[in-house]
C-alpha cells in the first residue's frame, strides 16, 4: 500500500478507473533493479547518503520520461525494507542531547551564540559523561533522520519490486472503494480464511452462487446507512488473499475526485481478473491445516479403513440461499456426494447458529458428527444423518451412516 498521493490512475470512457500498473518489461526492470541496488549498497552508510543517490537516479528517470510518482512509489516500498540501528542507541542520544541542552541553559541562559560558548558546553558534557568531544558532537547529530545509519536491507529483485508495486498500487486504489465484489473459485480452506479475515477486519459480506463459483459482496456495517470510504483500506488488505485462488475477479466502485466537479467525488468502476495475475507477486497456495486433532486423527484412520469412499478435506463451499457453508469433509463414491461436518465443544451461540445454517441447506447429503456432551440435537431432514461421538470419531459409525446414502 502506498500513500494516496502516489496513486496513478487513468479514466476510461468516463466510467472506468484503472491504476497505471508497471509493465514487467526490460527497461522497467532495469530501473527497479538500479534503485534496489542503491539500497543494497547503502548498508552501513547514512540515510543522507542514500537519499542523495536516489535523487540522482530520480533525475535520470525523469529525463527518460518516467513519472515521478512511479519512482517515488518504488522508493516508498524500498524504504520499508530498510533496517536501522536499535532504539537503544536513540535513547542514549536523547539522554546526551538533553545533557547538552541543559548545560547550554545553565551556563549561557538557553543558547550558545559564540563558538567559545559552544566549545565550553561540549567540553563540560564530555567530561561529565566520560566521552570525547567528537563523540559528543556526533551523537548530537545522530538523532536526525538523515544521519541515521542503515543496518540492513531486505533484498528484492527489480522484477519482484515492480510486481510488489503493482499490488500496492491496486491496494491504494481500493482505499477509496465503497463496495467490493469478489467472484472467486477456491477451496473451502481458502474461503474460510478469506471470510475469517473479512470478519476480523470488521467488514460484512453477502455470498451468492455465481457462474464461476461464489460472488462475495463486501462492505461494512455503516454501508447500509451511508456508502462511505471508511472500509477501503481494509478491503485492500484482503486482496493478497485472493491472488492464489484458482479463479478470481474483482469488481469495485471507487470514488475519485478526478474529472469530478470541484470538491465533489465521482464513482468509477474498476474490474480486474486472474488473467492479469502476472502483474502481481506470486503467492503460494495455502498448506491445509487441520482445525483440530480430532479431525486430523479421523482423516488418517478413515483413509486406511475404506477404499471405496474417497475423502476430500475442506471441499468447495456450499451456498444455499443467503448462507455459505464450508463443511469439513466431502465423501465421494461414484456419483454419490456426502458431506461430513464435525461439531465439537463450542459455545451455545455458535452451536445455535450452526444448526440454523444446516437447517437451511437443501438437497445436500450430510453427516453431522456431534460430541456426546452437546446433548440431543434433532434436525428434521431425511438427507441429514446425525451420529454421536465420544472423544474420537469412529470410522465404523461413518461407514454405517454412509450406507444409508448408498441405497
Amino acid at each position: 500500500m502506498l500513500p494516496s498521493e502516489l496513486l496513478r490512475v487513468k479514466i476510461y470512457n468516463n466510467e472506468y478507473i484503472k491504476p497505471l500498473f508497471a509493465e514487467i518489461k526490460d527497461e522497467n526492470i532495469f530501473l527497479a533493479d538500479s534503485l534496489a541496488k542503491i539500497y543494497e549498497e547503502s548498508i552501513g552508510k547514512t540515510v543522507k547518503n542514500l537519499e542523495e543517490r536516489v535523487r540522482e537516479l530520480e533525475l535520470f528517470a525523469e529525463e527518460y520520461g518516467y513519472d515521478f510518482k512511479f519512482f517515488r512509489g518504488l522508493k516508498t516500498l524500498l524504504d520499508r525494507r530498510l533496517l536501522f540501528e536499535e532504539d537503544i542507541d536513540v535513547i542514549d542520544s536523547i539522554r546526551i542531547r538533553a545533557e547538552i541542552f541543559e548545560t547550554a541553559n545553565k551556563l549561557f541562559g538557553g543558547f550558545v551564540l559564540r563558538e567559545e560558548e559552544k566549545r565550553k558546553v561540549i567540553s563540560e558534557v564530555s567530561k561529565k559523561l566520560n566521552l570525547n568531544q567528537e563523540q559528543v558532537e556526533e551523537i548530537f547529530k545522530s538523532i536526525y533522520e538523515e544521519e541515521k545509519k542503515i543496518k540492513g536491507f531486505e533484498k528484492i529483485s527489480g522484477e519482484e519490486l515492480l510486481k510488489l508495486y503493482n499490488l500496492s498500487l491496486l491496494q491504494t486504489l481500493l482505499f477509496r472503494c465503497k463496495k467490493l465484489f469478489l467472484d472467486v473459485k477456491a477451496t473451502g480452506y481458502e474461503i474460510r480464511r478469506l471470510l475469517w479475515n473479512v470478519k476480523k477486519l470488521g467488514l460484512l459480506y453477502i455470498a451468492e452462487k455465481s457462474f464461476n463459483g461464489i460472488t462475495f459482496t463486501i462492505d461494512g456495517p455503516v454501508s447500509v446507512i451511508k456508502q462511505i470510504e471508511r472500509y477501503g483500506t481494509r478491503m485492500a488488505k484482503i486482496i493478497p488473499l485472493i491472488l492464489p485462488f484458482s479463479y478470481w475477479k474483482i469488481f469495485a466502485y471507487i470514488s475519485s475526485k478526478l474529472r469530478a466537479k470541484k470538491d465533489k467525488s465521482k464513482i468509477y468502476k474498476f474490474v480486474m481478473s486472474k488473467e492479469s495475475e502476472k502483474l502481481f507477486p506470486k503467492y503460494e497456495k495455502l498448506e491445509l491445516e487441520y482445525d483440530s486433532d480430532l479431525e486430523e486423527s479421523f482423516a488418517k484412520r478413515f483413509v486406511t479403513v475404506t477404499g471405496e469412499w474417497k475423502l476430500i478435506r475442506e471441499p468447495e463451499p456450499i451456498i444455499s440461499g443467503k448462507t455459505i457453508f464450508i463443511p469439513d469433509f466431502l465423501l465421494i463414491k461414484d456419483d454419490i456426494k456426502v458431506y461430513l461436518e464435525i461439531i465439537g465443544f463450542w459455545t451455545e451461540d455458535y452451536l445455535k447458529r450452526k444448526i440454523e445454517k444446516i437447517k437451511q441447506l437443501k438437497d445436500i447429503n450430510l453427516i453431522l458428527a456431534i460430541d456426546y456432551s452437546l446433548g440431543d440435537i434433532k434436525i428434521d431432514d431425511p438427507n441429514i444423518v446425525i451420529i454421536k461421538y465420544d472423544k474420537k470419531i469412529s470410522s465404523f459409525d461413518i461407514i454405517k451412516a454412509l450406507r444409508k446414502f448408498e441405497k
Binding site: E5, K69, E102, N105, G110, L113, I143, P221, V222
Partner: protein
C-alpha cells in the same frame, strides 16, 4: 422485546416487533435486522420509550475504574456561564479564545459527571498536555491512544487520527466525549468518530468554529450546537494579557538574491506562458493537480518551492535572530520557523532543543516536560505548537517567516504568551524583504503533502 446491540459503530435492532421506525433507522438485508448510527442511540431510546416498546440494550462496554477529584478547578465567571449553557442538553460547543482556559471548563464538567470519558485531540502535544492536567486534578486510570500507545482507561486521550482508525473499538466505551479543537471534526473522515460513537454526552471546544468549506453546519448532528460563545474583545484586559509585536525586515544576500531570481524567472515564465495567476488556494490546487501530469508545471512548482525556501531561510535572519537572542538571554523564548530544516539549523548551531514532526516521540515528550519545568528556557519549533498547546511561561516568541504571517496566527500566538511581571509579552517577526510573490497563503495541509 427488542434487543439493541452495538456492532461496528452502529446499533443493531433485533426482534419481531413491527414498528414504523424513524428515518435514521435502516433495514439491513445482510443480517435481516434494523440498524442505525451509534450516535443515534439516545434518539432511538427516546423513540422506543415514546412508543412503549420494551427493549434490552447491550450497547455500552464501559472501562472499569474509579474516578476521584483530588484538586478542584477554580473557575472564572465566564467559565461558569459556559458550563451552565452546556449542561442544559449535555451536548454542544463552547467557543472561547485561546488562552481563556477551555481545558478547565472541560475538567470542571468531568469532575461532576464522573463518567468514563474520551478526549479527542489533534496533536500528540495536546495529548500530553491533557494528560498532565488530568493527572493533576483526578485520581483515575488514564489511557493514551495514539503515537504508539494503545490503551483504554477510565479517561482516555486519543488523537483524531487514531480515533478515526479505531472508531468501532472506542464507540461504546465512554459516556462522555470531548472534542478538543472541534473544528477538525466535520471533515469527511473525522466526522465518523462522532457518528460511530454512542456517547450521549458530547462537548466541543474551539476558538474558531467556522470552517471555510461550510462544514460547520454538521455540528448539531455531531456534537450539538454552539451553546456558548465569548469573543476576544469581550475578554482582553480583564482575562487576557496584552502583548507587543515587533517586526524586523532583512534582505537576501547577493548569492541568495541570484538564486532567488533564477527560480523566480522559471515560475514567472511558466505562469505568463500559460496565463496563470496564482491568487487563491484554488489556483494553487489546480497547479498541483496539473504538475502530476505536466513536466513543465512540475518544474515551475519546484522552482516556486525553491524560491520560497530561499525567502524563508535567508541567512540574514539568523543574524537578526542572534541579536534578538543576545538581548534576551535567560528569558523564556519560543522560536517558530516555517521549515524543519531551519529549525534544525537553529537547534544545532545554538544548542536549542527543537520540536518538529520529525523529532522522535521520546525526545519531544522529554523536551516539553523539561521546558515546562524550566530546565530549558528556549525552544525552536517548525510550527507544530501552533494549535491549542499551552506554552507555559514563555514571554517571548520569535517568528522567522516569509513576508509576514497571517494576522490571525500572530494574534493567537500573542495570547498564549505569559508576560513577566511589569513587562508586556513580546512577539518578534523576522521577514524577508522583496519576496512577496512566493508567499501567497495556501493551506498548511497542501504544503505538507507536496513540499515537505
Amino acid at each position: 422485546m427488542l434487543e439493541l446491540k452495538y456492532a461496528g459503530g452502529t446499533i443493531i435492532i433485533k426482534g419481531d416487533i413491527k414498528l414504523n421506525f424513524p428515518d435514521f433507522v435502516h433495514y439491513d438485508p445482510r443480517i435481516d435486522c434494523y440498524r442505525c448510527y451509534a450516535s443515534k442511540f439516545s434518539e432511538l431510546e427516546e423513540f422506543l420509550k415514546k412508543n412503549d416498546v420494551k427493549y434490552d440494550a447491550k450497547v455500552f462496554d464501559l472501562p472499569q475504574g474509579n474516578f476521584e477529584v483530588i484538586k478542584h478547578v477554580s473557575l472564572r465567571d465566564y467559565q461558569y456561564e459556559a458550563i451552565e449553557a452546556w449542561d442544559k442538553e449535555k451536548r454542544g460547543i463552547i467557543v472561547v479564545p485561546t488562552g481563556a482556559g477551555k481545558t478547565y471548563i472541560a475538567l470542571a464538567i468531568m469532575a461532576y459527571l464522573k463518567v468514563p470519558t474520551l478526549i479527542v485531540v489533534p496533536t500528540l502535544e495536546l495529548m500530553e498536555q491533557w494528560y498532565s492536567r488530568i493527572k493533576e486534578h483526578f485520581r483515575t486510570n488514564i489511557g493514551l491512544f495514539g503515537g504508539g500507545s494503545k490503551e483504554i482507561g477510565y479517561v482516555t486521550i486519543i488523537t483524531y487520527d487514531s480515533a478515526y482508525i479505531n472508531a468501532e473499538l472506542i464507540g461504546n466505551k465512554f459516556l462522555f466525549i470531548i472534542f478538543d479543537e472541534v473544528h477538525h471534526l466535520p471533515s469527511e473522515g473525522f466526522r465518523q468518530i462522532a457518528l460511530l460513537s454512542a456517547s450521549p454526552y458530547r462537548l466541543g471546544l474551539t476558538a474558531t468554529p467556522e470552517r471555510e468549506d461550510g462544514l460547520h453546519e454538521l455540528y448539531p448532528e455531531l456534537v450539538g450546537e454552539v451553546v456558548y460563545r465569548k469573543s476576544i474583545s469581550e475578554m482582553t484586559g480583564k482575562y487576557l494579557a496584552p502583548f507587543e509585536i515587533l517586526r524586523y525586515y532583512v534582505s537576501l544576500n547577493d548569492e541568495e538574491k541570484e538564486k532567488y531570481e533564477k527560480y523566480r524567472s522559471i515560475f514567472k515564465k511558466f505562469f505568463e506562458d500559460n496565463g496563470i495567476q496564482i491568487k487563491s488556494l484554488d489556483d494553487f490546487y489546480q497547479m498541483i493537480l496539473r504538475s502530476g501530469k505536466d513536466k513543465k508545471a512540475r518544474e515551475a512548482l519546484l522552482a516556486w518551492n525553491e524560491a520560497r525556501k530561499i525567502a524563508l531561510n535567508a541567512s540574514a535572519k539568523i543574524e537578526v535572530l542572534k541579536e534578538i537572542l543576545q538581548e534576551h538571554r535567560g528569558e523564556r523564548i519560543i522560536i517558530f520557523t516555517e521549515h524543519n530544516k531551519l529549525a534544525r539549523e537553529i537547534s544545532s548551531n545554538f544548542f536549542i532543543p527543537e520540536i518538529t514532526y520529525k523529532t522522535p516521540e521520546k525526545e519531544r515528550i522529554l523536551t516539553m516536560e523539561r521546558f515546562r519545568k524550566g530546565i530549558y528556557n528556549v525552544l525552536v519549533t517548525s510550527k507544530v505548537l501552533e494549535e491549542g498547546v499551552d506554552v507555559p511561561e514563555a514571554n517571548l516568541a520569535i517568528i522567522l517567516s516569509g513576508s509576514g504571517s497571517r494576522r490571525e496566527f500572530m494574534q493567537r500566538l500573542g495570547r498564549i504568551l505569559r508576560p513577566k511581571a511589569n513587562k508586556t509579552a513580546k512577539l518578534y517577526e523576522i521577514v524577508t524583504k522583496g519576496t512577496t510573490e512566493v508567499n501567497v497563503s495556501y493551506r498548511r495541509r497542501i504544503r505538507e503533502e507536496y513540499f515537505d
